[in-house]
């Protein structure tokens, strides 16, 4: 332990250790006693109750073990959340900016390539739109003359009415 004087040496406290120890001990005792009891019974009906005792012991062990692991996982998670450095707002802004820059740059390039006044459409589209039409956003549209769109079988969008 590098800082044992400041921290608990493990994610668990003494109460959790006691609960786990008692649970496991009871479970082992239950299974052992059930084994002893079933060995002394010759009638199957009389053995079934002891088998239930053994099953209860296994379930008890499972319960305390699950609680132990969940408590440990939670303690580690809480400490990691508080210990590991969190990027400040400036660093976060850089990360977000990097993610946003690419789509923004693409959209800008697309807008620069297209003529703002000419209606736009992408291949396979049945309508042509204004460049700022919401139905054209996020699509690889290209501007063309109105007659070209009509020749391609497209009609005017009823939303933006180019």
């Amino acid at each position: 332990m590098t800082s044992g004087s400041l921290h608990l040496s493990s994610p668990w406290g003494s109460t959790q250790r006691v609960v786990l120890s008692v649970g496991w001990t009871l479970a082992l005792c239950a299974v052992g006693f059930a084994w002893f009891a079933t060995s002394g019974e010759a009638v199957l009906d009389h053995q079934v109750g002891w088998v239930a005792v053994a099953a209860a012991g296994v379930m008890l062990a499972g319960a305390v073990s699950g609680a132990w692991l969940l408590a440990g996982r939670r303690a580690v998670g809480l400490r990691a959340r508080d210990t590991l450095p969190v990027p400040d707002e400036g660093q976060l802004a850089d990360v977000v900016d990097l993610r946003v820059k690419a789509p923004v740059a693409t959209a800008t390039a697309t807008a620069a390539q297209t003529n703002g006044a000419a209606p736009v459409a992408a291949s396979g589209m049945r309508h042509f739109h204004r460049l700022d039409c919401p139905l054209a956003q996020g699509k690889a549209v290209a501007a063309a003359a109105l007659t070209d769109h009509v020749k391609a079988g497209r009609t005017a969008c009823e939303v933006c009415q180019p």
Binding site: S3, V31, L44, V58, T83, P85
Partner: protein, 115 residues
């Protein structure tokens, strides 16, 4: 590193493997016992001693192994926090992130200790 030192360091994983092996042996013994029993009442003790006991040992072994993983994470956080503290010692003014980290570490300790 000598074997004994390694075993002392990895006592939980070594114990977990030992329990898994013991569980496999118990289940094998139970299976042999049941297969040689002619009557259900005769096979029941083997089911309890081999089956349930083996199941219990597997569970305990798995918990020990997973606990070892959690302890490793805990030690890693110890190292990170210590390095962070060493890096900030002697500075006239701590960065906000460093201050938040130290305070957060104390909060985590308090949370853990309260349990």
């Amino acid at each position: 590193m000598s074997v004994m030192k390694w075993i002392r360091n990895q006592w939980d994983r070594v114990t977990a493997v030992g329990l898994m092996v013991a569980a496999a042996l118990a289940m094998l013994a139970g299976w042999f016992g049941v297969s040689r029993s002619a009557y259900p009442a005769e096979s029941m003790p083997y089911i309890v001693s081999g089956g349930f006991f083996g199941l219990l040992l597997i569970g305990i072994g798995a918990v020990l192994w997973l606990s070892a993983d959690l302890r490793d994470e805990w030690r890693k956080l110890d190292g990170i926090e210590q390095a962070w503290r060493d890096a900030t010692i002697g500075r006239p003014a701590e960065t906000p992130a460093a201050t938040r980290t130290v305070q957060g570490g104390e909060a985590a300790r308090a949370t853990t200790a309260a349990r």
